[in-house]
């Protein structure tokens, strides 16, 4: 079986859930080889099926943006001739994937929400035009390089050999041009990750800046909190909370929009959610075109009542 190179995302050494999903997808194609820049918990990679783990310890990868990792991964891909290269569809992951694809004369697919394999042929599914279309595509040249969105698979625990191989690679000087001067890790909110949560409760301009009702409902549901761009632009929530075209794309089991009108750019980030619920004062709000259940009413009274009722039912 041929190797599949999987670019692992491990901020502060902690392997992300989407990275484990990539290992599971890689297994459908061949033997997963994890590629780690910096530190990462290699035992978890083995637990989720990594046969090999290539590690790059040089600090150069933390000092300069994108290019050094792309050079190293492209060189590894050229040497190993893998069946595919998988990367997380983060901004950095996509940039690395694009450069690796160009350097190895290979086709690139970004933002895959599913990857299937039939007789060795890899087919991807993407969700485009604000989630209004589903596109199936294949790479026709070189090694398929695919950047995959979170939740494209359920991570499966399958023991892999997890053989660690430290790689030393001479990063060309030309790749050391864009300096990372400082890096401030995002502080955890204590709630589930927006892109990984099964339930998301989002607030918009209708919250008028007070997210307490949104957060209280999110907490009784064990949900992540999201926001519209209007709420982010107003400074009520940081950009990392934004759902939509220029924020996060989420696809949870349940999405609750409170005080959000449902502009196309917001829909782009939540339209593929399984069940959609909205609370909005305006019965004409476009968000109601999407919902499975909608309440025309003031979120300031509807959300607290719902929170109280759920608490009561939980006993």
């Amino acid at each position: 079986m041929t190797e599949v190179l999987v670019l692992i995302d491990a901020p502060a050494g902690k392997v992300t859930k989407p990275s484990l999903e990539l290992l599971t997808i890689a297994r459908r194609i061949g033997e997963p080889s994890a590629v780690v820049f910096g530190q990462a918990d290699t035992s978890v990679l083995a637990e989720y099926g990594a046969e090999k783990i290539y590690t790059y310890a040089d600090s150069v990868y933390e000092e300069y943006l994108v290019a050094p990792k792309a050079e190293a991964l492209a060189a590894l891909a050229a040497e190993k001739s893998p069946a595919a290269v998988l990367a997380p569809a983060t901004t950095e992951g996509k940039e690395i994937a694009a450069r690796v694809a160009l350097k190895t004369n290979s086709g690139l697919i970004t933002d895959a929400v599913d990857v299937t394999v039939d007789g060795g042929q890899i087919t991807t599914t993407q969700s485009v035009f604000a989630g209004n279309f589903t596109v199936e595509a294949q790479v026709t040249q070189g090694t398929p390089v695919i950047a995959v969105k979170p939740n494209a698979a359920t991570p499966e625990q399958v023991a892999g050999a997890g053989a660690v191989e430290a790689v030393s690679f001479d990063v060309p000087e030309s790749a050391k041009a864009v300096k990372i001067v400082s890096s401030e890790p995002r502080v955890s909110t204590g709630r589930p990750e927006l892109t990984e949560a099964a339930i998301v409760v989002s607030g918009g301009r209708g919250t008028n800046g007070d997210f307490s009702e949104v957060e209280a409902l999110a907490d009784v549901l064990g949900a992540a909190v999201g926001a519209s761009r209007a709420a982010v632009d107003s400074g009520w929530k940081p950009h990392s909370f934004q759902v939509g075209q220029t924020g996060k794309v989420v696809s949870p089991q349940l999405y609750i929009a409170a005080g959000i009108s449902g502009a196309i750019q917001h829909r782009a980030g939540m339209q593929t959610s399984k069940t959609i619920v909205a609370v909005n004062k305006d019965e004409e709000a476009p968000i109601f075109e999407l919902v499975d259940f909608g309440v025309v009413g003031d979120l300031k009274t509807v959300l607290p009542q719902a929170t109280e009722e759920i608490t009561k039912r939980k006993g």
Partner: protein
């Protein structure tokens, strides 16, 4: 004197019903109104601000069909000084690699200090063309700027990544891409609209750039679309008006779906 090239894309209007050509699965650019990608307006805005803070010139560059001239015109109306429109039938259906090739060759023909991009196009939305152009030109890529400062030939940005907020810096000739967090883009003024009519726009073909038609276009893409399927319409949901029990009804619905 800072010379900035801004790459802008002409895209189908996101608020219209965007579709695909049924025969070859390319984006339908004929039956849907197009415009300058909203996300590229932010790049034009930032370029104009850099030039206005000192001295310089902004040239907008687009690769696209005849109608893409509209995107160039809008940027000129906003205040850009000159335009370049690369148009060639062979380019239709190009993937990100071919687009980046055409852009890189066009940029090489221009005099520039910096090249600005939007963070992503609003149709393809891959967000990789800036990094690919940089790779082809051998230039540093300072990408996904949420905040941008230019001092001399040094560019500093804030980059809001998925896991961290970073400060990034590079100098010399380089590529920059900006997000919609950089600040509102200006509307063309009446004066700007009138002035735009006299601004020069160059029209280039593949031959002008020394690119062979076999390197671009749908047939030479490194990926192939098998199918495009509209998402099934959502079945109409239940909508209730709050009469004092809206929250309870909401929970009853959630319970019926086993969320509670």
């Amino acid at each position: 004197m800072t010379k900035i090239v801004v790459a802008v894309k002409y895209v189908p209007d996101a608020t219209a019903d965007r579709t695909f050509d049924e025969a070859d699965h390319t984006v339908d650019r004929e039956n849907v109104d197009g415009l300058l990608s909203e996300l590229d307006e932010y790049a034009v805005e930032q370029a104009l601000q850099v030039v206005e803070a000192g001295e310089g010139e902004v040239t907008v560059l687009t690769v696209g069909p005849a109608d893409a001239a509209d995107a160039v015109r809008k940027a000129l109306q906003m205040g850009a000084d000159a335009g370049v429109h690369v148009e060639d039938d062979s380019i239709a259906g190009s993937d990100a690699f071919a687009t980046s090739l055409v852009l890189a060759k066009a940029i090489e023909k221009l005099e520039y200090d910096m090249v600005f991009f939007g963070m992503a196009s609003t149709d393809a939305g891959m967000g990789v063309v800036p990094t690919l152009v940089a790779e082809r030109l051998g230039l540093p890529a300072v990408t996904y700027a949420s905040e941008l400062t230019v001092e001399g030939d040094t560019v500093k940005i804030r980059r809001d990544g998925d896991a961290a907020t970073q400060e990034i810096e590079a100098s010399g000739k380089l590529v920059v891409s900006v997000t919609d967090q950089t600040g509102e883009a200006r509307y063309p003024s009446f004066k700007g609209i009138m002035a735009a009519k006299k601004k020069p726009v160059e029209q280039w073909s593949l031959a002008d750039l020394g690119i062979d038609a076999g390197e671009v276009g749908l047939d030479n893409a490194w990926t192939k679309v098998l199918s495009t399927t509209p998402r099934p319409p959502r079945t109409a949901g239940e909508i209730v008006t709050d009469e004092g029990d809206g929250g309870i009804k909401l929970v009853e619905f959630l319970a019926s779906k086993k969320f509670v």
